[in-house]
Protein backbone atom coordinates (compact mmCIF):
# COMPACT_ATOMS: atom_id res chain seq x y z
CA UNK A 1 0.00 0.00 0.00
CA UNK A 2 2.75 2.36 1.06
CA UNK A 3 4.79 1.83 -2.06
CA UNK A 4 1.91 2.38 -4.43
CA UNK A 5 1.19 5.68 -2.77
CA UNK A 6 4.75 6.91 -3.17
CA UNK A 7 4.70 6.18 -6.81
CA UNK A 8 1.39 7.80 -7.42
CA UNK A 9 2.47 10.95 -5.65
CA UNK A 10 5.83 11.44 -7.26
CA UNK A 11 5.33 10.04 -10.70
CA UNK A 12 2.90 12.29 -12.52
CA UNK A 13 3.93 15.59 -11.00
CA UNK A 14 7.67 15.59 -11.38
CA UNK A 15 8.88 12.96 -13.71
CA UNK A 16 6.57 12.08 -16.48
CA UNK A 17 7.59 14.97 -18.68
CA UNK A 18 11.27 14.72 -17.97
CA UNK A 19 11.37 11.20 -19.38
CA UNK A 20 11.90 11.11 -23.08
CA UNK A 21 9.30 8.46 -23.54
CA UNK A 22 10.10 4.84 -24.05
CA UNK A 23 13.23 2.95 -23.27
CA UNK A 24 12.68 0.03 -25.57
CA UNK A 25 16.17 -1.25 -26.14
CA UNK A 26 17.34 -0.93 -22.55
CA UNK A 27 14.08 -2.43 -21.31
CA UNK A 28 14.46 -5.52 -23.43
CA UNK A 29 18.13 -5.86 -22.53
CA UNK A 30 17.22 -5.90 -18.86
CA UNK A 31 14.40 -8.40 -19.13
CA UNK A 32 16.20 -10.56 -21.69
CA UNK A 33 17.40 -13.21 -19.21
CA UNK A 34 13.82 -13.90 -18.20
CA UNK A 35 12.43 -13.51 -21.69
CA UNK A 36 14.91 -15.95 -23.25
CA UNK A 37 14.25 -18.41 -20.45
CA UNK A 38 10.52 -18.06 -20.87
CA UNK A 39 10.62 -18.64 -24.62
CA UNK A 40 13.11 -21.50 -24.39
CA UNK A 41 12.07 -23.37 -21.26
CA UNK A 42 8.39 -22.51 -20.87
CA UNK A 43 6.56 -21.37 -24.01
CA UNK A 44 8.30 -23.63 -26.47
CA UNK A 45 7.99 -26.71 -24.22
CA UNK A 46 4.28 -26.03 -23.74
CA UNK A 47 3.75 -25.86 -27.48
CA UNK A 48 5.96 -28.83 -28.13
CA UNK A 49 4.17 -30.95 -25.57
CA UNK A 50 0.92 -30.05 -27.29
CA UNK A 51 2.30 -31.46 -30.51
CA UNK A 52 3.80 -34.49 -28.79
CA UNK A 53 0.49 -35.26 -27.12
CA UNK A 54 -0.76 -36.36 -30.54
CA UNK A 55 2.17 -38.71 -31.10
CA UNK A 56 3.84 -41.87 -29.97
CA UNK A 57 7.31 -41.05 -28.81
CA UNK A 58 9.82 -43.09 -26.83
CA UNK A 59 12.92 -40.86 -27.19
CA UNK A 60 14.65 -43.57 -29.22
CA UNK A 61 12.93 -42.99 -32.55
CA UNK A 62 11.17 -39.98 -34.02
CA UNK A 63 7.68 -39.09 -32.79
CA UNK A 64 4.97 -40.91 -34.71
CA UNK A 65 1.68 -39.14 -35.34
CA UNK A 66 -1.18 -40.98 -33.68
CA UNK A 67 -3.94 -38.43 -33.74
CA UNK A 68 -6.25 -38.42 -30.77
CA UNK A 69 -5.25 -41.90 -29.61
CA UNK A 70 -3.52 -40.72 -26.44
CA UNK A 71 -6.48 -38.65 -25.34
CA UNK A 72 -8.94 -41.38 -26.24
CA UNK A 73 -6.98 -43.82 -24.13
CA UNK A 74 -6.73 -41.42 -21.22
CA UNK A 75 -10.44 -40.80 -21.06
CA UNK A 76 -11.74 -44.26 -21.86
CA UNK A 77 -9.31 -47.03 -21.04
CA UNK A 78 -6.74 -45.85 -18.54
CA UNK A 79 -7.60 -46.95 -15.01
CA UNK A 80 -4.39 -45.39 -13.70
CA UNK A 81 -5.53 -42.01 -14.94
CA UNK A 82 -8.88 -42.25 -13.18
CA UNK A 83 -7.21 -43.57 -10.05
CA UNK A 84 -4.52 -40.91 -9.89
CA UNK A 85 -6.90 -38.09 -10.71
CA UNK A 86 -9.36 -39.09 -8.01
CA UNK A 87 -6.56 -39.60 -5.47
CA UNK A 88 -5.24 -36.14 -6.30
CA UNK A 89 -8.68 -34.57 -6.02
CA UNK A 90 -9.32 -36.23 -2.67
CA UNK A 91 -5.93 -35.09 -1.50
CA UNK A 92 -6.62 -31.49 -2.53
CA UNK A 93 -10.16 -31.44 -1.16
CA UNK A 94 -9.16 -32.87 2.22
CA UNK A 95 -5.75 -31.38 2.86
CA UNK A 96 -6.22 -27.89 1.52
CA UNK A 97 -9.20 -26.74 3.63
CA UNK A 98 -7.61 -28.28 6.72
CA UNK A 99 -4.33 -26.60 5.96
CA UNK A 100 -5.97 -23.21 5.38
CA UNK A 101 -7.99 -23.34 8.57
CA UNK A 102 -5.05 -24.57 10.58
CA UNK A 103 -2.74 -21.89 9.15
CA UNK A 104 -5.26 -19.19 9.89
CA UNK A 105 -5.70 -20.31 13.49
CA UNK A 106 -1.96 -20.42 14.02
CA UNK A 107 -1.57 -17.00 12.40
CA UNK A 108 -4.20 -15.58 14.76
CA UNK A 109 -2.37 -17.13 17.68
CA UNK A 110 0.96 -15.67 16.57
CA UNK A 111 -0.49 -12.25 15.86
CA UNK A 112 -0.86 -11.39 19.54
CA UNK A 113 1.42 -8.86 21.15
CA UNK A 114 3.47 -10.87 23.58
CA UNK A 115 7.05 -11.07 24.74
CA UNK A 116 9.07 -13.78 23.05
CA UNK A 117 6.73 -14.02 20.09
CA UNK A 118 9.66 -14.18 17.69
CA UNK A 119 10.88 -17.27 19.41
CA UNK A 120 7.52 -19.01 19.09
CA UNK A 121 7.27 -18.04 15.45
CA UNK A 122 10.68 -19.50 14.72
CA UNK A 123 9.95 -22.79 16.44
CA UNK A 124 6.53 -23.17 14.89
CA UNK A 125 7.75 -22.30 11.41
CA UNK A 126 10.74 -24.60 11.50
CA UNK A 127 8.96 -27.86 10.52
CA UNK A 128 7.64 -26.18 7.39
CA UNK A 129 11.14 -25.18 6.36
CA UNK A 130 12.24 -28.79 6.16
CA UNK A 131 8.87 -30.41 5.47
CA UNK A 132 9.27 -30.62 1.72
CA UNK A 133 12.66 -32.27 1.86
CA UNK A 134 13.31 -35.90 1.17
CA UNK A 135 14.75 -36.15 4.68
CA UNK A 136 11.36 -35.52 6.24
CA UNK A 137 9.68 -37.95 3.86
CA UNK A 138 12.06 -40.60 5.13
CA UNK A 139 11.23 -39.63 8.70
CA UNK A 140 7.52 -39.90 7.95
CA UNK A 141 7.98 -43.33 6.46
CA UNK A 142 9.59 -44.37 9.69
CA UNK A 143 7.19 -42.93 12.24
CA UNK A 144 4.07 -44.07 10.40
CA UNK A 145 5.48 -47.53 9.66
CA UNK A 146 4.28 -50.74 11.35
CA UNK A 147 7.04 -50.39 13.93
CA UNK A 148 6.94 -46.63 14.00
CA UNK A 149 6.49 -44.59 17.11
CA UNK A 150 2.92 -43.63 16.28
CA UNK A 151 1.92 -47.25 16.77
CA UNK A 152 4.02 -47.57 19.90
CA UNK A 153 2.21 -44.59 21.39
CA UNK A 154 -1.16 -46.05 20.43
CA UNK A 155 -0.24 -49.29 22.15
CA UNK A 156 -0.05 -47.40 25.47
CA UNK A 157 -3.76 -46.87 25.10
CA UNK A 158 -4.29 -50.48 24.17
CA UNK A 159 -4.86 -49.71 20.50
CA UNK A 160 -3.42 -52.14 18.03
CA UNK A 161 -1.70 -50.01 15.42
CA UNK A 162 -1.51 -50.73 11.73
CA UNK A 163 1.08 -49.93 9.07
CA UNK A 164 -0.27 -46.48 8.33
CA UNK A 165 1.64 -45.98 5.12
CA UNK A 166 1.23 -49.58 3.96
CA UNK A 167 -2.54 -49.69 4.45
CA UNK A 168 -4.58 -48.42 1.48
CA UNK A 169 -7.16 -46.83 3.79
CA UNK A 170 -4.73 -44.70 5.74
CA UNK A 171 -1.75 -44.09 3.45
CA UNK A 172 -3.23 -40.98 1.88
CA UNK A 173 -4.13 -39.72 5.33
CA UNK A 174 -0.49 -39.79 6.39
CA UNK A 175 0.43 -37.73 3.33
CA UNK A 176 -2.34 -35.26 4.19
CA UNK A 177 -0.90 -34.92 7.69
CA UNK A 178 2.55 -34.24 6.28
CA UNK A 179 1.07 -31.60 4.00
CA UNK A 180 -0.64 -29.88 6.92
CA UNK A 181 2.54 -30.03 8.99
CA UNK A 182 4.07 -27.80 6.27
CA UNK A 183 1.64 -24.98 6.89
CA UNK A 184 4.38 -22.37 7.44
CA UNK A 185 4.33 -20.27 4.27
CA UNK A 186 0.55 -20.19 4.19
CA UNK A 187 0.55 -19.10 7.81
CA UNK A 188 3.14 -16.37 7.26
CA UNK A 189 1.04 -14.96 4.41
CA UNK A 190 -2.01 -14.90 6.69
CA UNK A 191 0.08 -13.25 9.39
CA UNK A 192 1.19 -10.52 7.00
CA UNK A 193 -2.45 -10.03 6.00
CA UNK A 194 -3.53 -9.73 9.62
CA UNK A 195 -0.95 -7.05 10.24
CA UNK A 196 -2.37 -4.98 7.39
CA UNK A 197 -5.82 -4.74 8.89
CA UNK A 198 -6.06 -1.22 10.32
CA UNK A 199 -6.50 -1.35 14.07
CA UNK A 200 -9.04 1.51 13.92
CA UNK A 201 -11.54 -0.96 12.53
CA UNK A 202 -11.29 -3.05 15.67
CA UNK A 203 -11.28 -0.03 17.91
CA UNK A 204 -14.46 1.43 16.50
CA UNK A 205 -16.05 -1.99 16.72
CA UNK A 206 -15.07 -2.16 20.38
CA UNK A 207 -16.72 1.16 20.99
CA UNK A 208 -19.84 -0.32 19.53
CA UNK A 209 -19.44 -3.18 21.95
CA UNK A 210 -18.87 -5.93 19.43
CA UNK A 211 -17.83 -9.28 20.81
CA UNK A 212 -14.62 -11.01 19.81
CA UNK A 213 -16.28 -13.65 17.69
CA UNK A 214 -18.32 -11.02 15.91
CA UNK A 215 -15.20 -9.00 15.20
CA UNK A 216 -13.56 -12.05 13.72
CA UNK A 217 -16.42 -12.78 11.33
CA UNK A 218 -17.22 -9.19 10.46
CA UNK A 219 -13.79 -7.60 10.30
CA UNK A 220 -10.99 -10.15 10.23
CA UNK A 221 -12.41 -12.62 7.75
CA UNK A 222 -13.62 -10.11 5.14
CA UNK A 223 -10.40 -8.11 5.38
CA UNK A 224 -8.44 -11.30 5.03
CA UNK A 225 -10.38 -12.72 2.10
CA UNK A 226 -7.94 -11.57 -0.63
CA UNK A 227 -5.13 -13.31 1.24
CA UNK A 228 -7.29 -16.38 1.69
CA UNK A 229 -7.93 -16.39 -2.04
CA UNK A 230 -4.24 -16.12 -2.81
CA UNK A 231 -3.43 -19.01 -0.48
CA UNK A 232 -6.20 -21.07 -2.00
CA UNK A 233 -4.94 -20.62 -5.57
CA UNK A 234 -1.33 -21.36 -4.69
CA UNK A 235 -2.40 -24.27 -2.51
CA UNK A 236 -4.33 -25.92 -5.30
CA UNK A 237 -1.46 -25.61 -7.73
CA UNK A 238 1.01 -26.84 -5.10
CA UNK A 239 -1.13 -29.85 -4.20
CA UNK A 240 -1.40 -30.92 -7.82
CA UNK A 241 2.38 -31.05 -7.96
CA UNK A 242 2.83 -33.09 -4.80
CA UNK A 243 5.62 -35.49 -5.71
CA UNK A 244 8.49 -36.08 -3.29
CA UNK A 245 6.41 -37.46 -0.44
CA UNK A 246 4.36 -39.72 -2.70
CA UNK A 247 7.50 -41.10 -4.29
CA UNK A 248 9.49 -41.62 -1.10
CA UNK A 249 6.92 -42.54 1.50
CA UNK A 250 4.54 -44.76 -0.43
CA UNK A 251 5.76 -44.95 -4.04
CA UNK A 252 2.15 -44.35 -5.02
CA UNK A 253 0.97 -47.49 -3.28
CA UNK A 254 -0.45 -49.44 -1.63
CA UNK A 255 -2.92 -50.34 -4.35
CA UNK A 256 -2.53 -46.91 -5.96
CA UNK A 257 -4.09 -45.26 -2.93
CA UNK A 258 -1.48 -42.48 -3.04
CA UNK A 259 -0.82 -42.48 -6.76
CA UNK A 260 -0.67 -38.71 -7.10
CA UNK A 261 -1.03 -37.26 -10.60
CA UNK A 262 2.50 -35.85 -10.67
CA UNK A 263 3.90 -39.26 -9.82
CA UNK A 264 1.75 -40.95 -12.46
CA UNK A 265 2.96 -38.51 -15.10
CA UNK A 266 6.56 -38.96 -14.00
CA UNK A 267 6.34 -42.73 -14.27
CA UNK A 268 4.70 -42.65 -17.68
CA UNK A 269 7.37 -40.34 -19.03
CA UNK A 270 10.54 -41.46 -17.35
CA UNK A 271 9.94 -45.06 -16.35
CA UNK A 272 7.96 -46.28 -19.35
CA UNK A 273 9.30 -43.58 -21.69
CA UNK A 274 5.90 -42.89 -23.20
CA UNK A 275 6.71 -39.26 -23.88
CA UNK A 276 3.72 -38.67 -26.14
CA UNK A 277 1.29 -40.10 -23.65
CA UNK A 278 2.90 -38.17 -20.78
CA UNK A 279 2.59 -34.97 -22.81
CA UNK A 280 -1.11 -35.60 -23.22
CA UNK A 281 -1.35 -36.12 -19.45
CA UNK A 282 0.50 -32.84 -18.94
CA UNK A 283 -1.98 -31.02 -21.14
CA UNK A 284 -4.92 -32.57 -19.34
CA UNK A 285 -3.36 -31.37 -16.09
CA UNK A 286 -2.84 -27.89 -17.51
CA UNK A 287 -6.47 -27.68 -18.61
CA UNK A 288 -7.77 -28.98 -15.27
CA UNK A 289 -5.68 -26.51 -13.29
CA UNK A 290 -6.66 -23.67 -15.62
CA UNK A 291 -10.37 -24.48 -15.27
CA UNK A 292 -10.17 -24.72 -11.50
CA UNK A 293 -8.23 -21.47 -11.28
CA UNK A 294 -10.65 -19.69 -13.61
CA UNK A 295 -13.63 -20.99 -11.63
CA UNK A 296 -12.01 -19.75 -8.46
CA UNK A 297 -11.46 -16.32 -9.92
CA UNK A 298 -15.07 -16.26 -11.02
CA UNK A 299 -16.46 -17.38 -7.67
CA UNK A 300 -14.11 -15.03 -5.82
CA UNK A 301 -16.28 -12.10 -6.89
CA UNK A 302 -18.85 -13.32 -4.42
CA UNK A 303 -16.69 -13.83 -1.39
CA UNK A 304 -13.45 -11.91 -1.77
CA UNK A 305 -13.71 -8.44 -0.40
CA UNK A 306 -11.53 -5.76 -1.96
CA UNK A 307 -11.38 -2.28 -0.57
CA UNK A 308 -12.61 0.27 -3.12
CA UNK A 309 -9.14 1.25 -4.30
CA UNK A 310 -6.87 0.98 -1.32
CA UNK A 311 -6.89 4.68 -0.60
CA UNK A 312 -9.50 4.89 2.09
CA UNK A 313 -7.80 2.59 4.54
CA UNK A 314 -5.57 4.94 6.39
Amino acid sequence: METDKNEKNTLPIKHKRSKNGMNNLAGYIFISPWLIGFLLLTLWPILQSFYLSFTDYSLLSDPEWSGLDNYKKIFTRDDDFTASLSVTFIFVLVSLPLKLIFSLLVALMLNQKLKGMNFYRTVIYFPSLIGGSIAVSLLWRNIFGVDGYVNEMLSWFGIQGIGWVSNPDTALGSLVLLNIWQFGSTMVIFLAGLKQIPSELYESASVDGAAKVRKFFHITLPMLSPVMFFNLILGIIGSFQMFTAALIITKGGPMHSTYMYALFLYEKAFKHFQMGYASALAWVLLVIVAIITALNFFVSRYWVFYESDGKGDR
Binding site: E7, K19, W34, M109, V123, I124, G148, Y149, L234, I248
Partner: protein
Protein backbone atom coordinates in the same frame (compact mmCIF):
# COMPACT_ATOMS: atom_id res chain seq x y z
CA UNK B 1 -5.75 -9.93 35.43
CA UNK B 2 -3.70 -9.03 32.40
CA UNK B 3 -0.70 -10.90 33.73
CA UNK B 4 -2.75 -14.00 34.25
CA UNK B 5 -4.04 -13.71 30.72
CA UNK B 6 -0.50 -13.40 29.35
CA UNK B 7 0.60 -16.41 31.30
CA UNK B 8 -2.21 -18.40 29.81
CA UNK B 9 -1.21 -17.26 26.33
CA UNK B 10 2.39 -18.30 26.94
CA UNK B 11 1.23 -21.64 28.18
CA UNK B 12 -0.81 -22.32 25.05
CA UNK B 13 2.01 -21.18 22.77
CA UNK B 14 4.60 -23.30 24.51
CA UNK B 15 2.35 -26.33 24.36
CA UNK B 16 1.72 -25.81 20.68
CA UNK B 17 5.40 -25.20 19.88
CA UNK B 18 6.35 -28.45 21.59
CA UNK B 19 3.63 -30.28 19.68
CA UNK B 20 4.89 -28.96 16.35
CA UNK B 21 8.56 -29.48 16.96
CA UNK B 22 8.22 -32.84 18.70
CA UNK B 23 8.77 -34.99 15.58
CA UNK B 24 12.06 -33.19 15.00
CA UNK B 25 13.28 -33.93 18.52
CA UNK B 26 12.13 -37.51 18.22
CA UNK B 27 14.04 -37.71 14.95
CA UNK B 28 17.21 -36.43 16.61
CA UNK B 29 16.88 -39.09 19.29
CA UNK B 30 15.99 -41.82 16.80
CA UNK B 31 19.09 -41.07 14.76
CA UNK B 32 21.09 -42.23 17.79
CA UNK B 33 19.08 -45.35 18.48
CA UNK B 34 19.77 -49.01 17.81
CA UNK B 35 17.36 -50.93 15.60
CA UNK B 36 15.77 -52.56 18.62
CA UNK B 37 15.07 -49.26 20.26
CA UNK B 38 13.96 -47.47 17.10
CA UNK B 39 10.24 -47.96 17.56
CA UNK B 40 10.24 -46.85 21.16
CA UNK B 41 8.55 -43.48 21.52
CA UNK B 42 11.05 -42.37 24.15
CA UNK B 43 12.80 -39.24 23.04
CA UNK B 44 16.34 -40.17 23.95
CA UNK B 45 17.98 -43.61 23.55
CA UNK B 46 19.25 -45.40 26.65
CA UNK B 47 22.64 -45.53 25.04
CA UNK B 48 23.25 -43.13 22.15
CA UNK B 49 24.89 -44.85 19.21
CA UNK B 50 27.05 -42.17 17.63
CA UNK B 51 28.23 -44.83 15.23
CA UNK B 52 25.03 -44.25 13.24
CA UNK B 53 26.44 -40.93 12.13
CA UNK B 54 29.83 -42.40 11.26
CA UNK B 55 28.36 -45.33 9.36
CA UNK B 56 25.87 -43.04 7.64
CA UNK B 57 28.55 -40.60 6.58
CA UNK B 58 30.80 -43.38 5.22
CA UNK B 59 27.83 -44.82 3.31
CA UNK B 60 29.70 -48.09 3.09
CA UNK B 61 28.35 -50.13 0.14
CA UNK B 62 28.93 -47.10 -2.04
CA UNK B 63 32.40 -45.89 -2.90
CA UNK B 64 31.45 -42.29 -2.08
CA UNK B 65 31.02 -40.77 1.35
CA UNK B 66 28.54 -38.04 2.16
CA UNK B 67 31.39 -35.55 1.88
CA UNK B 68 31.22 -36.17 -1.85
CA UNK B 69 27.45 -35.66 -2.04
CA UNK B 70 27.62 -32.53 0.06
CA UNK B 71 30.30 -31.00 -2.13
CA UNK B 72 28.27 -31.87 -5.23
CA UNK B 73 25.19 -30.20 -3.83
CA UNK B 74 26.96 -27.15 -2.48
CA UNK B 75 28.76 -26.56 -5.75
CA UNK B 76 25.46 -26.72 -7.60
CA UNK B 77 23.92 -24.37 -5.05
CA UNK B 78 26.72 -21.86 -5.52
CA UNK B 79 25.82 -21.54 -9.21
CA UNK B 80 22.09 -21.52 -8.55
CA UNK B 81 22.31 -18.75 -6.00
CA UNK B 82 24.71 -16.64 -8.05
CA UNK B 83 22.62 -17.03 -11.19
CA UNK B 84 19.34 -16.38 -9.43
CA UNK B 85 20.46 -13.31 -7.52
CA UNK B 86 22.18 -11.56 -10.40
CA UNK B 87 19.64 -12.19 -13.14
CA UNK B 88 16.58 -11.64 -10.93
CA UNK B 89 17.94 -8.21 -10.00
CA UNK B 90 18.56 -7.30 -13.64
CA UNK B 91 15.13 -8.42 -14.83
CA UNK B 92 13.33 -6.85 -11.89
CA UNK B 93 14.95 -3.49 -12.59
CA UNK B 94 13.72 -3.64 -16.17
CA UNK B 95 10.15 -4.32 -15.09
CA UNK B 96 10.14 -1.89 -12.19
CA UNK B 97 11.78 1.16 -13.72
CA UNK B 98 11.93 1.11 -17.51
CA UNK B 99 9.14 1.68 -19.99
CA UNK B 100 9.13 -0.43 -23.08
CA UNK B 101 6.67 -1.82 -25.57
CA UNK B 102 4.50 -4.73 -24.39
CA UNK B 103 5.83 -4.40 -20.86
CA UNK B 104 2.37 -4.94 -19.39
CA UNK B 105 1.88 -8.08 -21.44
CA UNK B 106 5.22 -9.58 -20.47
CA UNK B 107 4.64 -8.79 -16.83
CA UNK B 108 1.26 -10.51 -16.81
CA UNK B 109 2.82 -13.52 -18.48
CA UNK B 110 5.50 -13.51 -15.80
CA UNK B 111 2.82 -13.60 -13.12
CA UNK B 112 0.94 -16.34 -14.93
CA UNK B 113 4.00 -18.59 -15.07
CA UNK B 114 3.88 -18.67 -11.28
CA UNK B 115 0.70 -20.70 -11.59
CA UNK B 116 2.05 -23.14 -14.14
CA UNK B 117 2.58 -26.68 -12.83
CA UNK B 118 6.16 -27.79 -13.56
CA UNK B 119 4.89 -31.09 -14.93
CA UNK B 120 3.50 -29.31 -17.96
CA UNK B 121 6.89 -28.34 -19.33
CA UNK B 122 9.04 -31.12 -17.94
CA UNK B 123 8.75 -33.63 -20.79
CA UNK B 124 9.89 -31.32 -23.63
CA UNK B 125 12.54 -29.81 -21.36
CA UNK B 126 13.90 -33.26 -20.73
CA UNK B 127 13.84 -34.05 -24.44
CA UNK B 128 15.71 -30.81 -25.13
CA UNK B 129 18.42 -31.46 -22.56
CA UNK B 130 18.63 -35.06 -23.72
CA UNK B 131 19.23 -33.91 -27.30
CA UNK B 132 21.95 -31.57 -26.12
CA UNK B 133 23.51 -34.50 -24.27
CA UNK B 134 23.17 -32.68 -20.97
CA UNK B 135 21.26 -35.31 -19.01
CA UNK B 136 23.39 -36.49 -16.09
CA UNK B 137 25.04 -33.12 -15.78
CA UNK B 138 24.21 -30.18 -13.53
CA UNK B 139 23.37 -27.90 -16.44
CA UNK B 140 19.61 -28.67 -16.51
CA UNK B 141 19.49 -27.93 -12.78
CA UNK B 142 21.60 -24.77 -12.86
CA UNK B 143 20.66 -23.14 -16.15
CA UNK B 144 17.04 -22.21 -15.27
CA UNK B 145 18.36 -20.08 -12.40
CA UNK B 146 20.23 -17.93 -14.87
CA UNK B 147 16.97 -17.00 -16.58
CA UNK B 148 15.82 -14.55 -13.95
CA UNK B 149 15.87 -17.03 -11.09
CA UNK B 150 12.13 -17.68 -11.18
CA UNK B 151 9.01 -15.54 -11.39
CA UNK B 152 8.59 -15.37 -7.62
CA UNK B 153 11.92 -13.69 -7.09
CA UNK B 154 11.52 -11.25 -9.95
CA UNK B 155 8.15 -10.29 -8.54
CA UNK B 156 9.57 -9.85 -5.05
CA UNK B 157 12.34 -7.58 -6.30
CA UNK B 158 9.99 -5.58 -8.53
CA UNK B 159 7.86 -4.82 -5.49
CA UNK B 160 10.93 -3.80 -3.56
CA UNK B 161 12.37 -1.57 -6.29
CA UNK B 162 9.00 0.16 -6.72
CA UNK B 163 9.28 1.18 -3.08
CA UNK B 164 12.55 3.05 -3.68
CA UNK B 165 11.86 6.77 -4.31
CA UNK B 166 12.44 7.77 -7.91
CA UNK B 167 14.13 10.97 -6.82
CA UNK B 168 17.34 8.98 -6.44
CA UNK B 169 17.19 7.83 -10.05
CA UNK B 170 16.42 11.33 -11.23
CA UNK B 171 19.30 12.87 -9.32
CA UNK B 172 21.67 10.35 -10.84
CA UNK B 173 20.24 10.99 -14.28
CA UNK B 174 20.88 14.71 -13.91
CA UNK B 175 24.46 13.82 -13.01
CA UNK B 176 24.62 12.06 -16.35
CA UNK B 177 24.14 8.44 -15.34
CA UNK B 178 22.66 6.04 -17.89
CA UNK B 179 19.99 3.46 -16.99
CA UNK B 180 22.78 0.93 -16.61
CA UNK B 181 24.67 3.25 -14.31
CA UNK B 182 21.57 3.86 -12.24
CA UNK B 183 21.01 0.13 -11.91
CA UNK B 184 24.59 -0.64 -10.92
CA UNK B 185 25.28 2.29 -8.64
CA UNK B 186 21.90 3.16 -7.15
CA UNK B 187 19.41 0.33 -7.33
CA UNK B 188 21.65 -2.71 -6.95
CA UNK B 189 23.21 -1.54 -3.67
CA UNK B 190 19.80 -0.53 -2.31
CA UNK B 191 18.12 -3.87 -2.94
CA UNK B 192 20.79 -5.92 -1.21
CA UNK B 193 18.49 -6.93 1.67
CA UNK B 194 15.96 -8.47 -0.69
CA UNK B 195 18.74 -10.09 -2.66
CA UNK B 196 19.62 -11.91 0.54
CA UNK B 197 16.03 -13.14 0.65
CA UNK B 198 16.31 -14.33 -2.93
CA UNK B 199 19.57 -16.11 -2.16
CA UNK B 200 18.12 -17.86 0.87
CA UNK B 201 15.02 -19.10 -0.89
CA UNK B 202 16.95 -20.17 -3.97
CA UNK B 203 19.25 -22.17 -1.76
CA UNK B 204 16.53 -23.92 0.18
CA UNK B 205 14.19 -24.54 -2.70
CA UNK B 206 16.83 -26.01 -4.95
CA UNK B 207 18.10 -28.13 -2.08
CA UNK B 208 14.61 -29.64 -1.90
CA UNK B 209 13.85 -29.68 -5.62
CA UNK B 210 13.81 -33.42 -5.74
CA UNK B 211 11.86 -33.77 -8.97
CA UNK B 212 14.54 -32.18 -11.13
CA UNK B 213 17.34 -34.01 -9.35
CA UNK B 214 15.73 -37.43 -9.81
CA UNK B 215 15.19 -36.63 -13.44
CA UNK B 216 18.51 -35.26 -14.51
CA UNK B 217 21.16 -36.86 -12.29
CA UNK B 218 21.60 -40.53 -13.07
CA UNK B 219 25.07 -41.61 -11.97
CA UNK B 220 25.87 -41.99 -8.27
CA UNK B 221 29.04 -40.04 -8.83
CA UNK B 222 26.97 -36.90 -9.50
CA UNK B 223 24.30 -37.46 -6.85
CA UNK B 224 23.13 -34.71 -4.55
CA UNK B 225 22.55 -35.27 -0.85
CA UNK B 226 18.84 -35.86 -1.47
CA UNK B 227 19.45 -38.52 -4.10
CA UNK B 228 22.02 -40.23 -1.89
CA UNK B 229 19.45 -40.35 0.90
CA UNK B 230 16.99 -41.96 -1.45
CA UNK B 231 19.45 -44.80 -2.03
CA UNK B 232 18.84 -45.84 1.55
CA UNK B 233 15.34 -46.96 0.68
CA UNK B 234 15.98 -48.08 -2.87
CA UNK B 235 19.18 -49.97 -2.99
CA UNK B 236 20.02 -51.58 0.33
CA UNK B 237 18.03 -53.03 3.13
CA UNK B 238 16.87 -50.02 5.11
CA UNK B 239 19.26 -49.11 7.91
CA UNK B 240 17.05 -46.73 9.85
CA UNK B 241 19.69 -45.46 12.26
CA UNK B 242 22.27 -44.26 9.73
CA UNK B 243 19.52 -43.13 7.38
CA UNK B 244 17.82 -40.90 9.94
CA UNK B 245 21.25 -39.65 11.01
CA UNK B 246 22.16 -38.56 7.49
CA UNK B 247 18.67 -37.16 6.91
CA UNK B 248 19.31 -35.05 10.00
CA UNK B 249 22.69 -33.91 8.67
CA UNK B 250 21.08 -33.05 5.33
CA UNK B 251 18.83 -30.40 6.84
CA UNK B 252 21.66 -28.66 8.72
CA UNK B 253 22.54 -26.16 5.96
CA UNK B 254 18.93 -25.02 5.57
CA UNK B 255 18.48 -24.88 9.33
CA UNK B 256 21.59 -22.73 9.83
CA UNK B 257 20.50 -20.30 7.13
CA UNK B 258 17.02 -20.14 8.58
CA UNK B 259 18.16 -19.30 12.09
CA UNK B 260 20.67 -16.73 10.88
CA UNK B 261 18.28 -14.96 8.56
CA UNK B 262 14.75 -15.36 9.86
CA UNK B 263 13.85 -11.76 9.27
CA UNK B 264 14.48 -12.11 5.55
CA UNK B 265 12.36 -15.22 5.52
CA UNK B 266 9.22 -13.78 6.90
CA UNK B 267 9.59 -10.63 4.82
CA UNK B 268 10.17 -12.59 1.66
CA UNK B 269 7.10 -14.74 2.01
CA UNK B 270 4.97 -11.86 3.16
CA UNK B 271 5.94 -9.58 0.28
CA UNK B 272 5.45 -12.10 -2.47
CA UNK B 273 2.32 -13.33 -0.86
CA UNK B 274 0.51 -10.23 0.09
CA UNK B 275 0.99 -8.40 -3.15
CA UNK B 276 -0.11 -11.29 -5.32
Amino acid sequence: MNQLKNKRKHFVLILFSVFMIYPVFWWLGASLKSIEEMKSPSLWPTEPIWDNYIQGWLFSPSEHTFAHFFSNTLLMELWNVAGGVITAAIVAYGFARLNFKLKGLWFSILLMTMMLPTQVTIVPQYILFNKLDLVNSYVPLILPHFFGGGAFFIFLLVQFIRGIPRDLDEAAKIDGASVYGIFLRIIFPLIKPSLVTVAIFTFIWSWDDFFAQVLYLTSVDKFTVGLALRMYIDQFEIQWGPMLAMAMVSIIPSAIIFFLAQKHFVEGIATTGIKG
